[in-house]
Symmetry: C2
Subunit: 268 residues, 2 copies
């Protein structure tokens, strides 16, 4: 069964560090993305460059429960890497492939306003951590009207995960959350790209892609232990996005964007 994308629906495509860090993969992706028909948005993660630059500058990258602790020096580095090199390199590549891309951080035209994360207690229930310049975003954080105006001008917004609080501060946010939030705000189809061709029935068998998972089937797969720990948060986020307004979610590979592969996620 081939996955065809929804007609007349904005597509929000998310790629992660595995693509951003790999030059030939990134170029191939940009070529495919440029050729994708209809209005579209790209959201990209950052990759490992931020950590290596932090180290070169004598900073020590600190991650707690998967999120980077972002002090004043760190927010400079992640802004340089994500909003600077990654975002502009991808935008220039897309322009080279004939796609009229516009690279955006949340501060640009205030397209996304994040909320600085308050110090929080870790999962051990005891340790308090202040993540610093880290922000949280949800659907209503996105200025959908402004993004729609840019789309109506024939532009293709390219988002990195650097946003602002509206008070002059830049905040480091999570690219997956940006992608869901933009898809929710635009009532879009969300294409979450990762290393595999889709959600696999057998994780050792690359071609065992499950074509369609609805909420009921998801519960079955979870009970049977077929979806593993790496996949669970992706699926949880997909269902959350659908409940909040995204039209459809497809979990798929960044390669061959129009090859009809991937797993369609829907509520019912």
């Amino acid at each position: 069964m081939k996955v065809t994308y929804l007609h007349n629906t904005i597509k929000v495509v998310k790629i992660g560090g595995n693509v951003v860090d790999n030059e030939s993969m990134l170029e191939a992706f940009c070529k495919d993305f440029a050729a994708l028909e209809g209005p579209k948005v790209l959201v990209h993660g950052g990759g490992v460059m931020a950590s290596s630059i932090q180290q070169a500058l004598g900073q020590t990258p600190v991650k707690i429960e998967g999120r980077r602790v972002t002090d004043e020096d760190t927010v400079k580095v992640v802004t340089m890497v994500y909003a600077g090199w990654c975002n502009k390199h991808i935008t220039a590549l897309l322009q080279g492939f004939g796609c009229n891309a516009i690279g955006l951080s949340g501060c640009d035209a205030s397209v996304i306003r994040a909320r600085k994360r308050a110090p929080r207690t870790l999962s051990d229930g005891v340790t308090q951590v202040d993540y610093g310049f880290v922000g949280d975003v949800k659907g209503e954080s996105v200025n959908a009207e402004m993004v729609q105006k840019l789309l109506d001008m024939g532009l293709t917004p390219v988002f990195c995960a650097i946003n602002h609080d509206g008070k002059g501060n830049l905040l480091n946010t999570n690219a997956d959350t940006i992608a869901s939030s933009v898809a929710i705000a635009l009532r879009a189809e969300l294409l979450l790209c990762f290393e595999k061709k889709g959600v696999l029935m057998d994780k050792n068998e690359e071609n065992s892609v499950i074509p369609h998972i609805d909420l009921a089937y998801y519960h079955t797969l979870k009970e049977q232990g077929i979806v593993d720990e790496g996949m669970l948060p992706k699926l949880e986020n997909a269902f959350k996005a659908l409940r909040e307004g995204a039209k459809r979610v497809v979990i798929r590979s960044s390669q061959g964007l129009s090859d009809g592969s991937g797993t369609v996620i829907s509520l019912g």
Copy 2:
């Protein structure tokens, strides 16, 4: 004599590294710029951060006749610093002061397309130098229609000096040239900000600002040796911009943007 800005004319304001590198000066400037009435554009230089990051990464900054030789590693660093930290920091600050800024590199919506500089012979007439990923820009390189559309949406474009060649490559360009080119393309008033209050009659007397210089007076000042070597290229560029379509040029300090100080440059 107080300088008042032209009514109903787009203002293009240029600030250099001396402002970008000084946090309290930058914040004060952003506050003043945000309060400036009418449609406006900001163009900023980069400052010394690029060189210090190059050094931290083990690269050796090379400048020949004032321009940075920009190899593949260098273009990454300047894009990170100028298009990343500087551009987004300024944009977020302006947002904090209520100005709906949008940070742009030339690749974004292809607002500026630069031409990669061919290897050239230096002023010694002998040495050939390949500047690498360095681009040249002129008035017709600017997509005036797109910039005007953004202005019409109530946005304030903030340009750094990173542009693209339309073939997927980012190019390092000169911020003064970007400012002139944008002013020419938009038939705008160009405010060139620097350390002094204007062109000085006596360079040791900060308050000896010459209120108005036209082409005839410029030749007189040059003959009398009143304008020195640092000021000559600024004035030459100002007259060039005027000849090519900029409405007026004001050379002034970045401080107190609406205080009526500065030197007005005009052709006649």
